[in-house]
Structure formats: C-alpha cells, structure tokens
Amino acid sequence: MATIFIDGRPFEVDGDKDLLDQCLSLGFDLPYFCWHPALGSVGSCRQCAVKQFKDENDTEGQIVMACMTPASDGTRISIDDPEARRFRAGIVELLMTNHPHDCPVCDEGGECHLQDMTVMTGHNYRDYRFNKRTFRNQDLGPFLNHEMNRCITCYRCVRFYQDYAGGTDLVAMASKNHIYFGRHGDGALENEFSGNLVEVCPTGVFTDKSLKAHYTRKWDLQTAPSVCVHCGHGCNILPGERYDSLRRVRNRYNGRVNGYFICDRGRYGYEFVNGDHRIREARLRDADEDRPAQPAALEAVMTRIGGLLRAGRVLGVGSPRATLEANFALRSLVGAENFCSGVAAQGDALNREVLGILRAGPAPTATLPDLEKADAVLVLGEDVANTAPRLALALRQSVRQHGLELADRLKIPRWQDAAVREAAGADLSPLFLATPVSTRLEDIASATRYGPTADIARLGFAVAHGLDGNAPAVNGLPEADRQWIDDVIAALAGARRPLVVSGTGCGDRDVLRAAANVATALARRNAATRLSLVTAECNSLGLAMLDPRPLELAVSAGQDRDLDTLVVLENDLFRRLPRQTADALLSAAAHVITVDCIDHDTVARSEVVLPAAAFSESEGTLVNSEGRAQRFYKSNLAAHPIQESWRWLQAMAAVSGGVETIDWHSLDDVTAQCAALSDELAAITEAAPPASQRVVHLRIPRQSHRYSGRTAMHAAATLHEPIPHRDLDSPLSFSMEGYLGEPAPALIPRFWAPGWNSIQSLNKFQSEVAGALVGGDPGRRLLEPGGDGRYFDQIPAPFKPSKGQWRVVPLYHVFGSEPLSALSPPLRSRTPDPYLAIGPEDARRLGVKDGSTLQVGALDGRSLTVRLQPALARGMVGVPVGLPGLAQEALPEWTTLQGGDGS
C-alpha cells in the first residue's frame, strides 16, 4: 500500500498501479481514452492529465499523464488544478477538431465514452474554423459498422485486436492526423473477438451491425443480467430488448468468468431468438396424421398431454442446453428412473467423466484470473479457440507472464503496456498444445504435437508419470515425442501457477483422464495447480449433476416396445443420435411431446409441441465448465403462450394429475427443490439473490430511467398504459421504477453511472478497477477439490491406422458448430460450408486434393468437399460438427471413404 495525496487529501492506494487506475478505483472522475483496464497504459491520448507536485512546498507543479505515472508512496497530485482542467479540455477540443457533429444520428449515441468525457472536461465551444479530414469506410463483414470519420485515434482498437486478441487483419495505417484503422481491403474481420471493438472503441467508429439492422436507442433497451448459452464457458451477458425483439447482446463484467470481453458467437448468436425458426404456439397432431403438428388451442393441447401422461410408460429426455430447473422439472415429471440425459452415450460418458474428475478434484478448476495468470499451460486434445473461445482468449494472456516477470526485473511497471510488450518481445511463457488438428492458439504455443486422441492421451499420461513416478508409466513411446514430453514436464514442474486444459471436444475419455493425471501429479507438488475441463454446452455439467440415465435407455426402451410417451426437453434427437437411431426411437414411441424454442427435425416428428421461452425470455440456473452455478433472467417477456420450459413441465404435471411434489410458484421454488437433491447442488440457491429480495422495498428496474415511449408504445392496442408484468421469479421489474442505485452484483441490469453512459462506467461498479464487482463476482462455485489424488491407470494403446477405415475426428467452428447461434443470420454468413478434412498423406493415397469430393460412409454416403488439413495424421479424417447438413454431433468412430482417384 502507498499513501498518495489528491488535491491535498490522503488516500491509501496500490503503489504498483498507475495513478489513473487508482484515481478511478477511488471513485474520482478523470477522463481518458487510450487507457483501458484490460489493456493498460500507453500515454497516447494525453487526456488524463493531472498536476503533480514534487512535495508539499511545490506550488508550481507539472502536468503529467495519470496513466503514465506510478501511484507511488508520497505522490501529490491535483485533479482539480485549473491548468490541468484547461489541459484536459484542450485535449478534447483537439479531438473534436475532426470528430463529426453527428451524435444525433450516431449508433454510439447515448453510451458514447467520447460524449461523456467531453462533458466531463467542460469543453463545449468550438473555435476550430477549418475543414475536417474525411475517410472512406470499409465493409468489415456482418458484425461491425465502420465509420472512420468519428475516429479520435486512441489506438485502443488495434491494441485490443492485435496485442490482446491476436488478430492480424486490423491495423493502423498512414500517419499524422490521417491515421486509418482498418483492413488492407474490405472484408469481414477474421478474429472471433472482433465484436468487442464495439465496447473497446470509445466512440462510434466500430458499432454493432446486428443492432443497426433493428436499431433502437440504447436507453430504450430493456435489459437484465443473463448468461451466454452458446458454449460451456458461461460468459455473463446483457441482452437488450425493445418492442418484443432482442436487439443486441453486450458483455456483462464478471471478473471470475469473462472479465471485459466475450466472443463473437456470444455477441451475435442471439438473433435466433427473433428468427423464423422460433416456435411461437402450441402445436398438435393426431397420432395417425402424417404431417407435422399444427397450431392448436392450448386447452386442447393440455388435455391431450394429460391423457398421454396418464397412460403407459413415459420417458423424459433432458438437455444440456436447458437450465437446471427445466431439467429438474422434467425429472420430477417423469421420475428419476425415467429421466435421460439427452446426450448420446459417448457424450454422456464424457460429461460424467468430467464431473467425476472434478469431484475427485486433483486441483481446483480455473477461474478467469487463474487462466490469465497461469505461467505454464498444457492443452490436451481440446481446440479451445473453437469450443470455448473466451478461455482461449485468457490463455492468450497467460503467455505474457514471462514478459511481466521480466518487466518486474527491469523495473518496468506492469501497467506500462507498450514497454512491457517491447521488453518481452517474442519471449512467451510456456504453452504446450497436443491436438488432433492445428488450432488458432499455435501462434503463441511453445510447441505443438498433432496426433490421434489415443496418442494425445498417451502423451498426457507420460507427462504425468514424468512429474510423479507414482503415476502410471507409458511404454513404447515414439522417440519423436520424447523432447516434447520432457519440455512439458520441465515447464510445468518449474511453473509457479501451472494449468492443465482439456475437454470433451475431442471425444476421448482417455484424454480427460490423462489431463486429470497431469493435474494430480502437479497438485502433489504445487497447490497453485489449476485444471480446466471444457464442457460442450451451457449446462453440460449441471445436467450431469442431476445424474440422468443415458439417452440409450430411451433407445432400448423403444426397441423393447416399452415406451409410450417420450417427453423431449429443448433437444433435437437427430443432433444427438445417428439418424436411423433417432428415427427408430421417435417411431417406437407412440407419442412424442417436445418442449423447445426452435424448430428442428424432432419437433417435426412430435405429436405435441410446446413453445419454450428462449434464454432472453426466461430465467434459470446453468453450471459452466468451471463448476459455477450462474443465474440468468429474462430481459423480455415472450408473447403468449410461450413460457419457460419448467413452467410447461409444471403445467404438464398438473394435467397428468399424478405428481404430487410439483408445487412451484416461482423459479426459487424449483431451484430450492433441485438444490435439495444433493449436497453438491445445495449451493445453487446462492447463485443469485431470491426473487423476494428488495432494496429499500424496491425492485431493480429492467428499464433505464431514460426509457422513452412507455405510455405510447402500446397505444396502437390500448390507450391505457398496461400494468407492468409482475415478475415472480426475480427481484427485477419490467418498468422504469425501482431502485436506481447499484444492486447486488448478480442483478445488475445495466452499467450506468452519472456522467458515465458507456460501458466504461464499469469502474463505478467494481471494488477496484479490473477487480471484482462490488459485493463479489456473481455465481457460486459448486465443486472444490477434496479427492484422494488417485491416478487413472489404464493407458490406451497407440492409434493404428486401419485399412479402408478412417478414424473420425470431430472438428469445431466458433461460427456454426453450436445449434442456436448457428441460426443467427450474422453468424450464418461466417459459417463455413461443410467439408471433410484429410491429412496430406491420405490425400496422396486417395488421389484427392483441396476441392475434390469424397463420399463419407458413416454419413450415409454423403459427398463432402475435401479440405486439406496438414496436421491430420494418417488414418484420420476430420468432420466438422454442426455445419449446415452436418448437424449430427455424435459421430461414428470410424468411416469408409469412396470416390478418390486412388481408392
């Protein structure tokens, strides 16, 4: 700690930080542009000027930039000094010489940091009487608008895009007052974090193109805290709604999960909520009708359901993309013994394996700071850049540890970003990858091994054995792997905060076990060891915690003709099971009831369809791959009869008449009953405050105090202002009225503070800049290590190519592999066409090249265009998951190929 004096008053601060950081942490309003809490200081904009005094006798002082000045003990500064004030106003005046006066038509208006800072400095009269410079804008693809005339040249965009996110196609060009931030030519920004530029840009150069497609002013958005449903990482988000349609998604800071950034899948995947694929009404068909169910009166539908549930054997199929509460409601409806996971056996086993490993707990799971501060990382099998992009972004920061420590040695403060990066250069801390195919983390990796998953598992087991002789040894390792293994062992053993990353993506249980062994071996020598196991979907881990039966239970029940009614919750069986199997199951079940928000093949085959609320229209609890239970809330009300899945299931229980335990009035009742299932789940009630919580008797308003049109927006239907919907499930209200201060961290519906309309207002909600939200970051960890540190001892045999058969490796794409976001138009345009990846050696043998076609036996002989993947070993083919026409994620292990010249 250090004591500094600001305008004569003493303050306790962190002396290792810069003055701007600490002034903001203390609650002072000091304007800035180029500084960003996640990007550090570079001193370019000169906006955060303060007066610094040598000592108490110094009355002259000197202008310094707060962001470039250490908050060291005894520092004396004045923010209020007239010269400093004039200086700051002068900087804004200069920035404004070229900034257009287009605020009334600017997309950024209302949450523009430049507007806020201009007001803050007091500059309000323009003396500049000359021409402004103008630019030609670029088409940057479906995510971002580009309006360079507004640019104030703070360099944040390129610093985020290149330095932080590893992108290469956004650069600063030209010089003087004509600096241009863009690509070398028109085209979509390639980096999967490009959408963060919307929040990183302090003004309206980079704005949300999806929002522009259905624009509304920011203060007119109805917002509520939510959680991204498009992968297992569980980033916190803020969806915004207007006129019953979802308009955009913005990052919601959670220091433990996603910090300041989310990926583009999370930001732009939301549009499926507004799309044509939504189910908006209850549907019904007669059992013998040969067409999809048709919209029907709710009463008739519920009567039918009552009949179906009362007769015969009912099985429930849950879903890893449905909430704990919805899955629990289904489980309550059909009984634990009839509740299936909704994930095919292989995936189900992997999720259970992850849960088992985390329960045994070789090491705690990694939070965001753990990921970013790891000083040696081993990634086994998982293509994290595509399956958990936010985690990959964190790993990209982890490799900077070496540079930061070097900076300490050279006495360069850690916040001095450009200097630290300069000193570190290309010297990165160790990050080792072993993956079936090449991934987008390779540019920062120390060394990468490619190979079949069995061989990757063997590498992992060998590393574990090298770290601890008690871990089982691997025999017959190829000499070529030796160096890599030794390097990994040395790096992990020498690390202060080692991290092991794996996941269910590569589809091999042994890889997970190998990762567990490495973590166990490391944890025995280093308590700071962390483990991160990526799960595929937003509630994969939560579903596993409910201990469902495998989906194959339903399949075999169908085969045994012991299945009358199948209740499918937010799931498409054709995605989970091979087509024939799903087909057989749906034919075997006499009746199929599906509750879901989007249309798919299972819906088309269902007798009864109930319209479920999408994530932004519902609430519930999800468990992410960290094992953190997180609550999300509705930001908009779905049109009748759409409602939350758990409410449908409750209604079904009511009409079935048989289930006594279902007596729920609000989400809290469901959550509480679900929590009672096990000690592990007991804490899910603490993920967020109960619905009954009030702040000084007030709810938290979902609408901003500047929300407009409230009395007019329904005028076409009624001149009487409707009574706001009463929310039973959260302490939030559907109105402007309520508590306007800062609510509990899990309930923050928007980041705003007086004078701070942009997302930069975050500093007013944090305990310190870039620290936890006041009151603690939301969510509740459910799994902490407590295991016996035992090793898995079954080492798989090395992979052997098979004649005439190819081992299928699932490949993932951040845009396209996740079913909900894949329906979002901006993402659809970034989704690659289906293809078959094949290694160079096999391509030669088969006589195929890039662009040839091959028929894939395991995909019913489907023709796919060949794409060469230089890293793929012989005997393996890569099949992308979820791309158009390749929805099936449960891929067969082996396939034949037809059609190459050489076959």
Binding site: V42, G43, S44, C45, R46, Q47, A49, Q62, I63, V64, M68, F87, G90, I91, L94, L95, T97, N98, D127, Y128, F130, I152, T153, Y155, A172, A174, S175, K176, N177, H178, I179, L410, K411, I412, Q416, A418, A419, E422, A423, A424, G425
Partner: protein, 434 residues
C-alpha cells in the same frame, strides 16, 4: 553550395582528412592517416569500462541536438553478467532535420571514421550488433557506407574475433523508410524492428529496453565520429579543443541568403557572428539578417542581438533557444516570417507520427491558423491561441519531443516577429506578397 573549407590553425579531427574533391577515403587511405589505430589500441589495452571512462572524461556531449553526455548515456547499460543479450549499438544517421547536413558530410567523406567510432562504442557497452539507421534519401552515403562496411569486414575490423581480441561485432546498414520521426531515438528503434515508427515512453530508456527489448545505445553520427579521436588522443586533448564550456569541435553549418553557405569544423563555442562573418562571408547584398535558426528547424530563433553568444550547449540555453544540430539557417528581411513559420509548421504537422493527441491534432490546427494569417484571414484571437499552443504542445505535455520542437520556432518567432504577425491580422494581408 561549397561544403567546407579548411580553417587554418585549428584542429579539425573530424573533417581534417576529408578531401575537398568530394571523393571518399577508402580503408587504406583511412588507415594511412591513423585510422583504426584507436580501435587496435582499445582492443589490446582497454577494458570496455575504460573506453566509457575516456569518453566520459572527455565531456563528449551528443551531437544530435540534445547534448546529453555520451559517457553517461553508455553508463546506464547493464555491464554485469545478468545483462540481457544481445546488446545493440545504433548510429542515428537519420539526419532529417531541415537545414542539417553535417552527418551526411561525415559519412560521405570518411565512412570508416564512423565505423571505427561505432566499433569502439559498441565495445564499450558490450554490444554484439550495430546498426547504421540511415536517412532514406541519402543514396551516396548509403553506397559509400556499404562499401566501407565490406572493407572493414574484409580487414577483420568487423565480424567474429575482431583483430584477435575475441570481441565480436556485426554491423548492418539499415535504410529508413523516410519519416522525420525516425530520428527520435525510440521511434528509430521501433522502425528498425520493422514496425510503425512511433516513439516509446521513457523510462524505460533504450539502455534498459531498447531494440527488441534489449540494452541499446543510440548515438548520433557526429558523436560517434568523435570517439576514435578521444580514444586515440586522450580526454584532456579533447576537452581543450573546445573554446567555451563544452568540449571538442563542432560541425557548424550555415545556409540561407549568405555569401558562402557551407559547413565548418570549429572549436565548440564559436559564435554565430564568427560563423556568419568570417566563414560564410556575411549576408548577400540587399539582404538584412533578421534572425537565425541555430540548430535545425526545431530550434528557436535567435535574434541578431545574440550573434556573439558562444554556440555551445550551455550558452545557447540562456538565449531562449538551443544549439540543436549547429547547422544555422540565416533568415533575411526578404522572407515573410509568417510564411516561414507556417512552412515549418506544415513540415512538423505532416511529420507527426499520429500517436499523441496534442501533436497529431494540434500541429495541423496551428498550421491552419498560420495559413489563415498569411492569407489575410487571421482573427483577433488567433495570436492568443498560438501563444497558448506554444505552451500546450510544450515539453511533458506531448508524448515525445516532436511537437515541443515544432513549438520552439513558433514561440520565439512570435516574440521576435510579433509586430509582423499583428500587422498581417490588422491589415488582412501579407505585405511580402506584393
């Protein structure tokens, strides 16, 4: 323009061997006049620290314009076993300062003198690699340096195990892409790395984290050329060369409407009057001197009443301007000061790297106001704003010294030519234009 002439009776270590006919001294010729003698002795007899001490004791100050003591600059390089390697020495040969051409003269006439100076300096700081960062448009110096470097390699002055000493140094010539800001030592390093030439914040200084983050020293060409002579003839000898408070000789130049524009090596501390009247032959007929710019475009104007002030770092500081590069521009009464300063500010605005706001946006604002005044469209409060900007864009307020440098001629110009500026505004025209 005649480049130089020998001045009788004065020691001219830097230019004494340079020939009048514009041809270059090759290796043999350089060796014949004592070249590489200092290097041989140093590698044989002196530890790196002793070379630094000799330079420190000689009071050699940086000839790029800032006048920072060279030995002190070197002393910040980590010479311990823990030092990060490789270390680098860089010769700043980016001489893009308008009206400055002294380094070009040295490189064209006697490139081995620079190379020897670089090897000695690199040895002093333990550098493994050295670069000459050369101005883009210096074609002839590039050619001659390239040839000289090849000669030096062939003779064993560069490469592995130099002269059997075990010391290793590789020297590369890098030709700039051509931006004024590359002359700023940290922007130079960034450019040398192949990136946008944007200055870096100091600290950390290049001696701590320079080229590719490694310990680096950047010295001006003229500075480095002094080093062999200091090592050869001693610090005391060198100190005695200076006439005033600073040591050594200095390459002074003069351009403008003088009778004999040129470049002369004179004792440090010669006065502007001596240079103008004795060496440059005075003003041309019909031209009256109104001011001098003593050391390049980024140095403030010197009023004629200060002609007798010794032109060394310390004395010039008291006149409100600075020695800078010591290549003087004589300004005469036929030139409109507003147009002159507008032209200078146009240069600086154009050469701003665009990194920090006051420089990037402020210089074009200043330029446009000056253009307006020159065109007779000045407004009553324009002069106040220009005055304000000379402080607003001053040292400490901007990221590097570019904008403060640009403000020096403006600030001193407003002082010396204040009445001219006011007349432009009140009369709404430029009286030089008719």
């Amino acid at each position: 323009m005649t480049i130089t002439e020998k001045v009788d009776g004065m020691e001219t270590p830097l230019t004494g061997n340079i020939r009048d006919d514009g041809t270059v001294l090759n290796l043999k010729e350089y060796e014949r006049v004592g070249g590489y003698r200092a290097l041989r002795r140093a590698l044989r007899e002196l530890a790196p620290e002793e070379v630094t001490k000799a330079v420190t004791d000689a009071d050699l100050r940086g000839r790029g314009g800032a006048g920072f003591p060279t030995g002190k600059k070197w002393s910040f390089v980590d010479m311990s076993d823990q030092a990060r390697h490789p270390k680098y020495l860089v010769a700043n040969a980016d001489e893009m300062e308008p009206s400055t051409f002294k380094d070009r003269f040295l490189m064209e006439g006697d490139p081995h003198q620079l190379i020897e100076g670089m090897i000695l300096s690199a040895y002093a700081i333990g550098a493994r690699y050295a670069y000459v960062f050369l101005r883009a448009s210096y074609f002839r110096p590039a050619r001659r340096l390239r040839e000289a470097i090849a000669e030096a390699y062939a003779a064993g002055y560069l490469g592995g195990d130099i002269l059997g000493s075990g010391y290793q140094l590789d020297l590369y010539l890098h030709i700039s892409a051509g931006r004024y800001i590359c002359g700023e030592e940290t922007a130079l390093l960034t450019a040398l790395e192949g990136r946008r030439s944007i200055p870096r914040s100091k600290p950390p200084y290049p001696q701590v984290s320079g080229l590719w983050g490694r310990p680096t020293v950047v010295n001006n060409v003229e500075t480095l050329c002094n080093v062999p002579h200091i090592v050869d003839k001693g610090s005391q000898w060198y100190r005695n060369l200076g006439r005033g408070q600073d040591a050594g000789t200095k390459l002074y130049g003069m351009s403008g409407k003088v009778n004999r524009p040129g470049l002369w090596e004179l004792p440090m501390g010669a006065s502007a009057r001596e240079i103008l009247e004795e060496h440059a032959g005075g003003m041309r007929a019909g031209h009256r001197l109104t001011a001098l710019q003593p050391g390049g475009a980024s140095s403030g104007f010197l009023a004629p009443e200060h002609l007798d002030v010794p032109m060394d770092f310390s004395s010039m500081g008291h006149t409100g301007t600075r020695l800078g590069t010591g290549t003087i521009l004589a300004i005469d009464d036929q030139v409109c000061p507003v147009a002159l300063i507008r032209n200078l500010e146009h240069f600086f605005a154009q050469e701003s790297c665009g990194w920090c706001t006051p420089c990037r946006e402020g210089l074009p604002f200043v330029e446009r106001i000056l253009t307006a005044i020159e065109n007779g469209e000045g407004q009553a409060d324009d002069l106040d704003r220009l005055h304000d900007y000379t402080r607003f864009l001053g040292p400490g307020n901007t990221f590097c010294a570019h904008a403060p440098g640009a403000m020096e001629p403006l600030e001193t110009g407003l002082k010396i030519f204040g009445d001219v500026f006011e007349r432009h505004i009140t009369e709404g025209r430029c009286s030089w234009r008719h």
